[in-house]
């Protein structure tokens, strides 16, 4: 992979910008990344972004950092990975260093709380907007097994509160089983 200074620079600015505004956990940053790297810059395709999400979620460590590592490797190899990770961890480090001087006042401030409460509504809208777009492309696949996996995973996660890791592992097992069966069928023919 040829190292491109301009791409690295863009990757750094994008991850810095995304990380600065990522409130509310790992799934939010994955959604911002999808919008930036898939829809806007076309560096990654939609399928790959879903694979990145699954890997970032199931590997140990912070989802945002994991996703940055995967996106960085994909875009510019090792140095892309370093760039994306630095871009992702710099904003929280700087912000927390500044806040640490008056953090008790910050935690108790009513105006701060109200702004954050409003932003939470925006976070829900962003996640569901991305899920909507991804969901329609699953529905277009017209494969009953895809529909079944989508439905079962949703019920397990949202209604039953099953740990996300188990859901990913179970779907992986279904995928392997299906592939093994169709492979066997191909061999018999």
């Amino acid at each position: 992979m040829k190292l491109n200074g301009k791409t690295l620079c863009k990757l750094f600015i994008s991850t810095l910008y995304i990380s600065t505004f990522t409130f509310g956990g790992g799934f939010v940053i994955v959604n911002f990344m999808k919008r930036k790297f898939v829809d806007e810059l076309h560096w990654i395709d939609e399928q790959e972004m879903l694979d990145i999400t699954a890997m970032a979620q199931s590997a140990p460590g912070a989802i945002a950092v994991n996703a940055a590592i995967l996106v960085g490797w994909k875009v510019q190899g090792f140095f892309g990975m370093l760039t994306a990770v630095v871009g992702t961890i710099l904003p929280p480090m700087v912000i927390l260093t500044v806040i640490s001087f008056f953090y008790e006042k910050f935690a108790a401030n009513r105006y701060v709380a109200l702004v954050l409460q409003g932003m939470q509504a925006g976070v829900a809208a962003i996640i569901l907007d991305v899920a909507w777009g991804l969901g329609t492309s699953v529905l277009k696949s017209k494969e009953w097994l895809h529909y079944a996996v989508l439905l079962l995973a949703f019920v397990s996660a949202f209604v039953l509160g099953v740990n996300v890791i188990y859901i990913i592992l179970a779907s992986l097992a279904v995928g392997i089983l299906k592939e093994a069966l169709s492979h066997k069928r191909r061999c018999e023919k």
Binding site: T20, F21, T22, F23, G24, G25, F27, F32, D51, T53, A54, M55, A56, Q57, P60, G61, A62, I63, A64, N66, L70, K74, V85, P91, P92, I95, L96, T97, S100, F106, A113, V115, L116, M119, Q120, A121, G122, A124, A125, I126, L128, V130, A131, L134, V138, H146, Y147, V149, L152, F154, A157, F158, I167, A170, L172, G175, I176, K178, S182, H183
Partner: protein
């Protein structure tokens, strides 16, 4: 010495927290509060609140804060490095493997089944936050409904779908509007 301790304490947090922020909280507590006594329990509780209010992964926030308290900027850097190094190794290995086998048909077929599940997980995460926004309390009942929150959500969803507005702009507008609504309609 203290740098090494910080590094290894947060290395464990990074290595054993699987599945995001909420998995990391008890691990941070056991290292920074119980094992080393770097933070008091009330300082830790405030830290969790602040970490939730500021951007970035909770583990990185906690590492920065604890490192700063114990050993200044250097401590913050060492603790953060400790917390991300398991990811740097393991996830990099995953990235390289993925890049290598991405074009393999069997691997692609298996991933085909994984993708709808990931979509469902994203959908579920969004709905969970929406539930938190729409109802102030744990129980879902009409008298607990937060109408301003529901309105903000509906508006944000509409402009994102219809006009593909920049999500970060939408986020900031939601925050500003919520403050404005409460300023106009009084403090409830």
């Amino acid at each position: 010495m203290i740098y090494l301790q910080l590094f290894f304490a947060f290395l464990q947090v990074g290595l054993f927290s699987v599945g995001g922020g909420y998995a990391a909280i008890p691990l941070i507590q056991s290292q920074a509060v119980e094992k080393y006594g770097w933070l008091t329990l009330s300082a830790f509780t405030n830290l969790v609140t602040v970490a939730e209010m500021t951007p970035g992964p909770i583990a990185v926030n906690a590492a920065t804060f604890t490192g700063l308290q114990i050993a200044g900027i250097g401590g913050a850097a060492v603790a953060t490095l400790g917390c991300i190094s398991p990811s740097l190794c393991l996830v990099s290995a995953l990235a390289v493997l993925y890049g290598k086998y991405k074009k393999n048909t069997a691997f692609q077929n298996v991933l085909q089944i994984l993708r709808p599940a990931v979509v469902a997980l994203i959908f579920s995460a969004g709905l969970r936050i929406l539930r938190l926004v729409a109802f102030d309390e744990q129980t879902i009942a009409l008298q607990n409904a937060n109408y301003i929150g529901i309105l903000l959500f509906a508006g944000a969803f509409f402009v994102l779908r219809k006009w593909k507005l920049n999500p970060i702009l939408v986020l900031l507008m939601c925050g500003a509007l919520n403050l404005l609504f409460y300023a106009i309609f009084g403090w409830i």
